[in-house]
């Protein structure tokens, strides 16, 4: 994210003397915040909520490392790894979609967004299989503290993937209608930023809950 200060919503793009990021619109010598500031506030709020959750996880784990390690072994690492791949790739597809729209390549934008959504759906499918296996094994929020965190964290994230997909769906429909283009990609960037957040959260969540011992 750029360094535009989130503390003052009125401040427009922040003037910065150094060269801009090498993006398509680097003709202008000013760094700007991609997407809407309000969306960034939303993203920061979400990140904060998850951060508190991650910290709680760390404290709870420190109190009973053995239980956490033992329960962690029952998680499906392969499913988690596939899902990481799916989300990261999907995020890259969104970047390609925005680049395409910035070139006024509407068809490209639609294609890349559809691909990104496919990645998101793939994530949900894998996750549903994973949940089904766990619930079949009789695991619930009340089984132990580790599973409480595992289910809560992944479920809150799951809901964010769904919200992200709804947002991508709207963006796809709008791109299809030709609402975005070389001079109008503000909304697209806002939605893209949100999808990257969903991705980022998973990149922290996966090692923390599935891998780290």
């Amino acid at each position: 994210m750029s360094t535009a200060s989130p503390a003052s919503p009125a401040s427009g793009p922040v003037n910065a003397p150094q060269p801009a990021f090498p993006t398509e619109d680097s003709g202008a010598s000013r760094r700007r915040l991609p997407g809407d500031l309000a969306v960034w506030f939303f993203i920061l709020a979400e990140l904060l909520a998850f951060a508190v959750f991650f910290l709680s996880y760390a404290f709870a784990r420190a109190r009973d490392v053995a239980l956490f390690n033992a329960s962690q072994l029952t998680l499906d690492l392969n499913a988690g790894a596939i899902n990481t791949l799916l989300l990261v790739t999907s995020s890259w597809f969104v970047v390609r979609a925005i680049q395409a729209v910035k070139r006024d390549d509407k068809a490209g934008g639609v294609r890349w967004l559809a691909a990104a959504m496919l990645g998101g759906f793939g994530f949900l499918v894998v996750k549903v299989f994973e949940y089904a296996a766990k619930f079949d094994a009789g695991i619930t929020l009340s089984t132990n503290t580790f599973y409480m965190f595992y289910i809560s964290l992944t479920f809150f994230h799951f809901m964010h993937v769904i919200l992200g997909l709804v947002i991508l769906g709207v963006l796809l429909a709008n791109t299809w209608r030709g609402a975005y283009g070389r001079d109008a990609y503000h909304v697209l960037e806002s939605g893209g930023a949100y999808w990257h957040m969903v991705d980022l959260l998973w990149i922290i969540l996966f090692p923390l809950v599935y891998v780290m011992r």
Partner: protein
């Protein structure tokens, strides 16, 4: 005043202040009953006085919210109110129903009142803050729906602003969540869930939206800062309120028989609840610092800043104090809760309604602002009430810490009533602060009658 129909707000504001005075008088009685247990007994027993104190608070805040909506919405929508007549009719219905309810509380034993009002048909009585008899509850629903109809129609026919949409969202939420008060399951765990879905989702959910919308409206008017800037802040506040407040309901589920994971969910999400209030504080000060005009109504600006600070302290800081499950294990239901309740209600909701009244009443009375003399008295009332409330909160917090220690932590825990005797000094101090608060309120009321050179619109 820009639109004639905004005038319907006047009786709502006057009734609000009148009921506010009643609430404080009962508060004084209650405070005394803490130390002189049989004061006014059997005419007004403690439980009745407490019920009147809390119910009057809710009713006068509702009058304040409705008055605020009637004042704000036409101006935001740039059109006259859909039906001023309906607004006036609803005012009288609500006032009479409210008054009858209070008379009922005071005149007959609560059980008799329940019998008289058909509680055996649909049992809804007996839950804290929702003690109203069935006819009153139904009345509240009818008044709320007709009020919402009136306001919504006004917004629909006029300009739609973020402020009026957030206000509508808050008011509709208020009405919808009140419906849970009609469902009284026999299972006491379920009962608590439904009860909190009214109480919590009101004060830590939709009421915060109303608060944000009201404060934003006044800040636009008194600072002249661009609407877009104010709306951005409003979005932030609304978002944080909903992210933290909805699952934050879990901080009421710790010890009611709900699964243990609520201790985590409740702690984590409610720990974020101070953030929207902090944003509110920064918002208020930031906007006033960046003001593009000097509004002649200094008192209203003071109330607006006060709301920002006191809501953060009362709701944010004092809420956080006992919101984490391991802390709440000890503090649950002690005077710590009372301390939080007092400052949160005052700082957030009392002050925002007084902000709105302070801004709107002079205009409704045909001037931009009151005379300097009247404003000085009003500012005195601000400081008297606010400082008194700070002390009430501090004394109750001290009482609460002692209570937790004596009754729950020490090697040889004391029984409840013995512990109460031990902390009576703090109750006396609290009562003293309460009297100062009453003096502040009397100054506030007096400020409406102070003449002097008025500032024209």
């Amino acid at each position: 005043m820009q639109y004639k129909s905004q005038a319907v707000a006047t009786p709502y504001f006057i009734a609000a202040i009148g009921l506010f005075a009643g609430q404080i008088l009962f508060g004084i009685v209650l405070g005394l009953q803490y130390v002189l247990g049989d004061f006014l007994f059997p005419a007004i027993p403690f439980n009745i006085a407490r019920m009147v104190h809390t119910n009057l608070l809710i009713v006068w805040l509702l009058f304040g919210f409705m008055g605020a909506a009637y004042y704000m919405i036409p101006e935001e929508s740039e059109t006259e109110l859909f039906s001023p007549k309906l607004a006036i009719a609803l005012f009288w219905i609500f006032l009479v129903a409210g008054a009858l309810t209070i008379v009922g509380y005071l005149a007959v034993p609560y059980a008799t009142l329940a019998q008289l009002t058909g509680n055996d048909l649909l049992a809804t009585m007996g839950r804290e803050f929702l003690e109203q008899p069935l006819p009153t509850k139904l009345g509240i629903v009818v008044v709320a729906l007709a009020f919402l109809f009136n306001i919504t129609m006004t917004v629909l026919k006029g300009r739609k602003t973020s402020i009026s949409i957030v206000m509508l969202l808050g008011l509709w939420g208020l009405a919808v969540f009140f419906l849970f008060s009609f469902y009284n399951p026999a299972n006491i765990v379920l009962d608590k869930f439904f009860w909190w879905w009214v109480v919590h989702l009101w004060v830590e959910g939709v009421w915060e939206l109303i608060l944000g919308a009201m404060l934003s409206f006044v800040l636009i008017k008194v600072t002249g800062v661009d609407r877009e800037v104010i709306e951005k802040w409003l979005y932030v506040i609304v978002t944080m309120t909903l992210i933290s407040g909805i699952i934050g309901t879990g901080h009421h589920f710790y010890w009611i028989g709900a699964p243990e994971y609520w201790q985590w969910w409740g702690s984590i999400f409610s720990a974020l609840e101070p953030i929207p209030f902090f944003a509110l504080t920064v918002f208020a000060f930031n906007m006033v610092n960046r003001r593009r005009r000097e509004h002649p109504n200094k008192a209203a600006v003071l109330w607006a800043l006060g709301t920002g600070v006191m809501s953060f302290l009362g709701a944010g800081v004092w809420g956080f104090l006992h919101t984490l499950a391991p802390v709440n294990y000890y503090t649950h239901g002690t005077q710590i809760t009372a301390a939080h309740g007092h400052m949160a209600f005052y700082g957030a909701y009392v002050m925002v309604v007084l902000t709105m009244i302070s801004y709107a009443m002079p205009i409704l009375r045909g001037r931009a602002a009151n005379s300097n003399k009247a404003q000085v008295l009003e500012m005195w009332s601000f400081w008297l009430m606010t400082v008194a409330m700070v002390f009430i909160t501090l004394f109750l917090t001290a009482a609460g810490i002692l209570q937790v220690w004596l009754q729950r932590v020490s090697e040889s825990p004391l029984p409840f009533m013995v512990a109460q005797d031990q902390i009576s000094l703090f109750y006396w101090l609290r009562e003293g602060s309460g009297v100062v608060f009453l003096i502040g309120l009397l100054c506030y009321i007096a400020s409406f009658f102070v003449r002097g050179e008025e500032k024209t619109a």
